[in-house]
């Protein structure tokens, strides 16, 4: 089989993995080498589905002895199989890299033979790249659950980022859909990788040239919508993973049905892209806005709202915290206002040192007021002309896409579950807004 065919089969088999970032590490090629990396990452192209292409994302082989129900490569699925030799893939990577098509390699593999054998072949590919070709560009390697720790260790010394995919958000779903994998088999390498990363950064403080284990850290991925877990459970799990395993990123991948299986959504089910989007928004709130999973969702509200983003939902459920005086609110409080991001919060804190901010000044320093005006006071004043018109309020809370979704999909009978529970001390406007929401949605 020629390389063109192999590339077609093995990139097709790898494309459902959501991670394609090349971020987390800054480096440049030494003399005689090739390859650099930017901590912010770099997109080399965008596929027709709008996803960033940063890395050559392929499997070393799609032959697999396991039978995970959600996966195109499972052994019981009748599909074309192929395998790169380590040398072929290393050569292809270098040629693509040299032409600036890619930022590096994302290497994963089906389990061919055994986890150890698979891992050894991945190591050989990376060894050729790093040692023979002196490639210093970005490499993301997937750890193969069940592989020997010494092999994971070797892989981690060659890669910039490591990942072990959780895939399913509960042990029960794993048992049902990935019978060959256990929670332990996934979490054990994750824990090991975390310890090695911690040790290595400790050593680096002491010896500058200590070898560096996965300097861009560790990430994982969960498939959304293949199994019944609600958003609440997924978000809690993500939060736990960030805390316990020091992960850099948790990726969410909307499940694309690949074959008919009574345990899985029907083949014509569209991937739950909107849900994936909400989870990424919430993930952002966990990582940069100081929110906890518990604040965003709970057992009574287990799923994100289809039309209102997670931060907005939180603010509406906690209407008693608002309005906030822009000139006195702490930075952390400002971050929680719908419509105010990290940049705007910093600008506000900077600008108000010079003079107390007015609504005009707020607009002039570039704070977008479409949503924020409902939640703020400037020098004790409400936004001028703010009327308690429920349509206007609702539209302001939604992005154009959300408005579109709302208009195109809903009949108007759906109950909005945002505002159950206590709503003490609301302003007249908020009460009006909150009261009208369920009537309109």
């Amino acid at each position: 089989m020629d390389i063109m065919e192999k590339l077609r089969i093995l990139s097709d088999a790898a494309k459902y993995d959501a991670a394609c970032t090349s971020s987390g590490v800054d480096k440049r090629a030494g003399r005689g080498g090739m390859g650099s990396a930017m901590a912010a990452g770099c997109c080399h192209s965008f596929a027709a589905d709008g996803r960033c292409i940063s890395l050559l994302k392929v499997l070393l082989t799609n032959v697999c002895i396991f039978d995970c129900a959600y996966c195109v490569n499972r052994c019981s699925h009748d599909t074309e199989r192929a395998a790169f030799t380590p040398r072929e893939l290393a050569d292809l990577t270098m040629q693509f890299y040299r032409r600036n098509y890619i930022e590096g390699l994302f290497l994963s593999s089906g389990v061919a033979g055994s986890p150890d054998v698979t891992c050894e072949r991945m190591i050989e590919t990376l060894r050729i790249l790093r040692e023979e070709y002196r490639f210093t560009g970005y490499i993301h390697a997937k750890a193969i659950p069940g592989a020997d720790q010494a092999l994971i260790a070797r892989l981690g010394m060659l890669a910039d980022r490591m990942s072990v995919n959780i895939e399913l958000p509960s042990a029960a779903s794993l048992a049902k859909l990935a019978p060959d994998k256990t929670k332990r088999a996934i979490l054990a390498p994750m824990g090991y990788i975390q310890r090695r990363i911690a040790e290595s950064s400790h050593d680096l403080v002491r010896y500058r040239h200590a070898p560096h284990f996965a300097p861009a850290g560790q990430s994982t991925q969960m498939i959304i919508g293949a199994s019944p877990e609600p958003d609440y459970q997924i978000l809690q799990l993500s939060e736990g993973l960030y805390r316990r395993y020091g992960l850099k990123r948790v990726f969410f991948s909307a499940y694309v049905p690949v074959t008919a299986n009574p345990l899985l959504p029907a083949v014509d089910t569209p991937p739950p892209l909107w849900r994936e989007h909400r989870l990424y928004q919430a993930d952002w709130l966990l990582r940069f806005y100081g929110f906890s999973a518990q604040e965003l969702l709970d057992e009574a509200h287990p799923d994100f709202h289809p039309y209102v983003d997670p931060k907005c939902s939180w603010a509406l459920r906690n209407a008693a915290n608002f309005p906030l005086e822009v000139n006195r609110a702490a930075y952390e409080e400002l971050l929680r206002v719908p419509g105010i991001g990290v940049k705007s919060a910093i600008r506000i804190v900077r600008a108000r040192r010079a003079a107390a901010l007015t609504w005009d000044a707020l607009a002039r320093i570039g704070v977008v007021l479409k949503r924020a005006r409902y939640f703020l006071l400037c020098r004790g004043r409400r936004y001028p002309g703010l009327v308690s018109d429920r349509d206007a309020f609702l539209l302001a809370m939604m992005s154009p896409r959300e408005q579109h979704l709302y208009r195109s999909q809903e009949s108007g009978t759906r109950q909005l579950s945002l505002f159950d529970g206590n709503e003490p001390q609301l302003t007249a406007l908020q009460r009006e807004a909150i009261r009208c929401l369920p009537m309109i949605l």
Binding site: L7, M34, C43, R98, R99, N100
Partner: protein
């Protein structure tokens, strides 16, 4: 308004030349109506005042910048020079006058149009340079990496460090067809040269093969059920597509052994 206010400057288009315009504006106590580069057509009824580039005057202005404006603002003007901001010279002069008057705090002027214009223009420059770090496609031609770009801003100086860190052992050339200049590198030196035109030779067999492989990868990696044309266009504006392998699909290898007529 007196004729004095309607003065127009003409300078040689260099950074030093522009600093001399600043110098002139101060010593002559005037604010020109326009500052024209060497190629700009004559517009003023009154003709223009040619500002001769004097290295000494330029240096005097240059050293004063960080002292008077602070490093951040000085850097902002320096970078504006490379942007495609219309009438950038005039905006830069206005910015400098503000800076000399108010010092580093001018960057905090919420909503000042001059400050805003410069900041926006520089943001555009840097983000275009960042995008191109990814979107550039090299062709290998006689073992040299060559490419053409058509950026709005003058981005070449902002690409040099990046590609040097990436390909220290290669020879490479990036041709900016919009500004007619090239960034050239050979181990371990970089140069920017004026270049009227440049076009890469048609691909040889190996080059064509990797272009085709890349297009194969590009097509396969899309998840069809997630197709989203609008998203792709927002993230990768169409004007960049013109020079990207996955859109040009240019794999034709010219016949390597053309039949020579029998002699």
């Amino acid at each position: 308004m007196s004729a004095h206010d309607l003065v127009t400057y003409r300078y040689d288009g260099s950074w030093e030349g522009l600093l001399c315009c600043v110098f002139e504006s101060y010593t002559a106590h005037e604010l020109p109506e326009a500052i024209l580069g060497p190629e700009a057509p004559e517009t003023s009824l009154f003709g223009s005042k040619t500002i001769v580039t004097d290295v000494g005057n330029a240096a005097r202005v240059e050293v004063s910048l960080p002292r008077k404006l602070g490093h951040e603002a000085a850097e902002l003007v320096r970078l504006t020079f490379f942007t495609c901001l219309p009438e950038k010279e005039l905006w830069m002069l206005r910015f400098l006058r503000l800076g000399y008057q108010y010092g580093p705090q001018l960057l905090q002027f919420a909503g000042n149009e001059t400050v805003y214009r410069l900041q926006k223009a520089v943001q555009h420059l840097l983000s275009e340079a960042h995008l191109l770090k990814g979107f550039i496609r090299f062709s290998v031609q006689n073992n040299v990496l060559v490419t053409t770009i058509g950026p709005k801003n003058c981005v070449l100086p902002f690409l040099a460090g990046h590609f040097k860190a990436r390909f220290p052992e290669e020879h490479w050339l990036i041709y900016d067809a919009a500004h007619h200049m090239a960034l050239a590198y050979r181990p371990y030196e970089t140069a920017i040269l004026p270049l009227e035109s440049f076009s890469a030779a048609p691909p040889d067999e190996e080059e064509a093969r990797f272009r085709a492989l890349w297009c194969q990868f590009y097509d396969t990696i899309e998840i069809r059920s997630r197709h989203n044309e609008r998203c792709r266009m927002t993230l990768m504006p169409k004007r960049y597509w013109k020079y990207m392998t996955e859109f040009t699909r240019d794999f034709a290898v010219p016949d390597a052994n053309p039949q020579l007529p029998a002699t």
